[in-house]
């Protein structure tokens, strides 16, 4: 009858020595926290699914968005970097579980070493995520936003590859300056202007006959719809309003604004968990070094923080699938 709670009648029930379900108080509470946190994350990921089903015919293709790898320029390598990040996190999970295992055997030196590796893995992961964010915010090709808030991207007709707005747009001489607090109307300012105005893009497109426009709509094969030259010019002239570079919470060059919003929110919330996990790991790491758990004769604290760390890895497995794969 392992399901029944049967306290030893001689023990004091309320002084913390009682272990229902054969798990200590701290470990069980960590499990309950993990359940509630898992529900929070599933709330986020499922609302991402909601937005995606809502825009089922025009959602950005992740493989075309996350194509960058640090130190490699001019190549499109989808999935590679995020696969690396996933692997780093799995590895740090493994070193964590090895630390827990060494803790059971009361081997202080091994616990210290594996905890150290775990922290390093976590830092590499958070750093990679920061880089991924920076690349995403900076953007690469740029696009034009229409009156209806849709995104038009540009293609080279000969190679059918994406082409950056800055490669073909004209630069008119100083049409308009950014309004700052000290010019124009005092104490009023605006955010920095896009690199090109819509007229510069139209002029550039008219001058180079090999450029086509790609809309957000997906065709039967799951590719973005490419317009003919006439359609491209027409839609740009009649609907285009502004040039978008990179991503923020209001607009992004990849497509539906919600795509960037969910990216920032979900990977941000996960990154925050990784960060707090690193902080907890560091605290435990120093406790191991000064011998707190050696004196306590139990390394259970390492196990508890390990549970949290594995949970962070678990969440990433799902974020990886739903953001980058599906």
């Amino acid at each position: 009858m392992q399901t029944t709670v049967s306290p030893n009648s001689n023990d004091n029930l309320w002084d913390g020595g009682n272990k229902p379900l054969k798990a200590s108080y701290g470990k069980m509470m960590m499990w309950f926290f993990i359940v509630s946190d898992a529900l929070t994350f599933s709330g986020f990921i499922v609302s991402y699914g909601f937005a995606r089903f809502k825009f089922a015919d025009s959602w950005p293709i992740a493989d075309e968005v996350f194509t960058h790898v640090p130190f490699v320029h001019g190549k499109e390598l989808p999935m590679i970097y995020v696969a690396f990040m996933t692997f780093v996190l799995i590895m740090s999970s493994v070193t964590m579980v090895l630390a827990v295992d060494a803790g059971h055997k009361m081997k202080k030196a091994k616990v210290t070493f594996y905890m150290f590796l775990t922290i390093i893995g976590g830092i590499i992961f958070v750093g990679s995520q920061a880089w991924e964010w920076a690349t995403f915010i900076k953007g690469d090709y740029g696009a034009v936003k229409t009156k209806g808030g849709n995104i038009l991207q540009f293609l080279d007709a000969n190679t059918s590859k994406r082409i950056a707005v800055s490669d073909f747009a004209f630069e008119f001489v100083n049409e308009r300056e950014q309004q700052q607090e000290y010019n124009g109307i005092w104490y009023q300012n605006e955010s920095s202007l896009p690199l090109f105005s819509i007229d510069e893009v139209i002029a550039g497109m008219e001058a180079s006959p090999n450029i086509l426009i790609r809309t957000q709509l997906l065709n039967d094969k799951g590719h973005k719809t490419i317009l003919t030259r006439e359609e491209s010019l027409e839609i740009l002239k009649s609907n285009g309003v502004s040039v978008v570079n990179g991503a923020n919470l209001i607009e992004n060059e990849y497509g539906v604004p919600l795509f960037a919003n969910f990216f920032f929110f979900i990977t941000g919330f996960h990154g925050f968990h990784v960060f707090s996990g690193i902080v907890l790991n560091i605290i435990i790491f120093f406790n191991v070094i000064i011998g707190t758990y050696e004196k306590r004769n139990s390394y259970e604290m390492v196990e508890k923080v390990g549970l949290y760390w594995h949970f962070v890895d678990l969440v990433w497995v799902f974020v990886f699938t739903f953001f980058y794969l599906v």
Partner: protein, 129 residues
């Protein structure tokens, strides 16, 4: 796990490990292989897998199933769920699974409905202009 014993077999006893460390390495290899399959499928996206099954592409079914496989091994072996009492396991896993299934059903269903409203050919709602 107060007595520090681990169940050392995975795949329902198909693979047995001699020590806990060995089991960890075994699970690491398994997780790496699954991730590798996911990444390769994600890069090449074979066209055969574009068929739909229950409103979802076969490829996406594969991704989701592989994800659940990975989640299972992380929880069972890294988080030592395999060594906990069955009731603790049920409290944690069933609560989460039921609530998540319910939430998923409601929100995905609703998202699909809103898509149909937007997609309505009678053009009450215009989103491309």
């Amino acid at each position: 796990m107060a007595d520090h014993t681990h169940k050392l077999e995975i795949f329902r006893g198909l693979i047995k490990f001699k020590s806990n460390t060995q089991k960890i390495v075994g699970v690491l290899i398994l997780l790496s292989i699954v991730t590798l399959i996911e990444v390769v499928l994600g890069i090449y996206k074979p066209t055969i897998l574009n068929e739909y099954f229950l409103n979802l592409k076969l490829l996406n079914w594969i991704f989701i199933i592989l994800t659940i496989v990975k989640a299972y091994y992380i929880t069972w072996d890294f988080m030592h769920m395999r060594d906990e009492t069955s009731i603790l396991r049920r409290i944690v896993v069933w609560t989460a699974v039921f609530l998540i299934l319910y939430l998923t059903f409601i929100l995905i269903q609703e998202g699909g409905y809103i898509f149909d409203v937007f997609d309505d050919t009678s053009n009450y709602i215009k989103k491309d202009f």
